[in-house]
């Protein structure tokens, strides 16, 4: 249960800060669009709408610096038993400031949300790189990814922007 006065930040309420990343101060604006739907913290996105990578626009950042975008799902395979926390969906590095991930290098190809059980959170985290990241190889598997470890490994520090959305399996057949 959150304390009403202390944490109304949706990232804290949704336990994004804590499960995946640590408390940070947002310094870059990131707007994410799946088709025409603008992603706000905690909004619901259907998996059918998120099959292709979203349009991400960075605003307010340093034009000369490079950014890394990571998309993970900490509730894999099920929110009450996240044995495969976190599931890696997308990694793009070397995004120039003020542009979008198509200008960067895609380390891990985009995989759309496919939650098998329950309501999953899908978190897009933006890091500011200290320099050009060389030697970033593909992680061995998408499962059991650790964002904090990844950030520490490449000296990315705290995130500069984060947004998350919820998604659940669409009912295959018509509900009774």
């Amino acid at each position: 249960m959150c304390m009403m006065g202390a944490s109304v930040d949706p990232l804290v309420v949704g336990r994004v800060i804590g499960d995946v990343i640590d408390m940070f101060v947002p310094s870059v604006g990131m707007s994410v669009y799946y088709g025409s739907k603008h992603v706000t913290n905690g909004c619901d996105i259907k998996p059918s709408m998120a099959t292709s990578p979203p349009k991400v626009t960075l605003t307010g950042g340093n034009i000369h610096s490079l950014y890394t975008l990571v998309m993970t799902d900490p509730d894999a395979p099920s929110p009450s038993e996240p044995t495969m926390r976190e599931w890696l969906h997308w990694v793009v590095v070397d995004i120039p400031g003020g542009t979008n991930p198509t200008q960067g290098k895609e380390i891990v190809a985009y995989m759309g949300p496919r939650p098998p059980v329950g309501i999953h959170r899908y978190i897009l985290i933006l890091f500011e790189q200290k320099g050009v990241l060389g030697g970033v190889e593909q992680p061995a598997a998408r499962a059991s990814f650790n964002t904090r470890y990844f950030a520490r490994q490449f000296n990315l520090g705290l995130p500069v922007a984060t947004v998350y959305f919820n998604s659940q399996k669409e009912p295959a057949s018509k509900r009774r």
Binding site: S78, P79, S80, I119, R175
Partner: protein, 226 residues
């Protein structure tokens, strides 16, 4: 609050059980023993056994007896139960005539015959709120630690909520929203339960008894979702 009253009940039942086991008392022995202080620890230790065995027999019959034999006492509860119990502990002969404090309209039994609803020492509105709160928390956290009575009381309602989620229709969802305090939990429940409990028929909880609580020695239990 509920616990102190429970203690008072046990104290008076234990004491009263012994007073009326003295069906053959006379006032002389009683008056002679009144001034002496009884050893309280012994009286409290001995009598946990007597209500259970003696209360099963002759309940209503014995009720009239103390009034006849001991006219100085008014009402069902003896005035100085501990005095009497302690003083007569040496003359303890049998459990023939027992007496338990009647606080529920004259119906007392050591077995659970006919008891359908766990009252949880609360009026109905508070009872419902307590049960709703506990089931909400259990569905939220997956495992909670509470008293044994409460854990066994909420089993039925947790199973009901999971059954509603298994059905999954809008009507059932709204029924669940009317019971569970947080709507996020209802939505998460309806999203997860068909996968998680699809094959299981009933019995979605498990109770594990643990050590009593330090403050009041209340028997505790973990209740968790299977």
């Amino acid at each position: 609050m509920a616990l102190s009253s429970a203690f008072a009940v046990t104290a008076t039942t234990t004491a009263a059980a012994d007073t009326t086991s003295r069906s053959s008392w006379c006032m002389n022995s009683l008056r002679s023993t009144l001034p002496s202080l009884p050893p309280l620890p012994t009286s409290s230790i001995r009598f946990p056994h007597s209500p259970s065995s003696s209360s099963s027999r002759t309940l209503r019959i014995s009720r009239s007896k103390p009034k006849a034999l001991l006219p100085s006492f008014t009402g069902l509860a003896p005035l100085h139960p501990l005095f009497l119990s302690g003083s007569s502990s040496s003359e303890f002969t049998g459990f023939d005539h027992c007496f338990t404090i009647i606080d529920n309209g004259g119906r007392v039994s050591a077995m659970r015959h006919g008891r359908r609803v766990p009252k949880l020492n609360r009026p109905p509105d508070q009872r419902r709120a307590l049960i709703r709160g506990l089931t909400t928390q259990l569905l939220k956290y997956g495992r909670i630690k509470t008293t044994r009575a409460r854990a066994s009381a909420i089993r039925k309602y947790v199973d009901k909520m999971i059954t509603l989620a298994k059905d999954g229709s809008l009507h059932k969802r709204r029924q669940a929203l009317g019971f569970i305090y947080e709507k996020q939990i209802v939505h998460a429940l309806f999203a997860e339960v068909p996968e998680r409990y699809g094959e299981r028929n009933g019995g979605y909880t498990r109770i594990i008894r643990t050590l009593p609580r330090r403050g009041d020695n209340a028997p505790m239990a973990f209740i968790e979702l299977v």
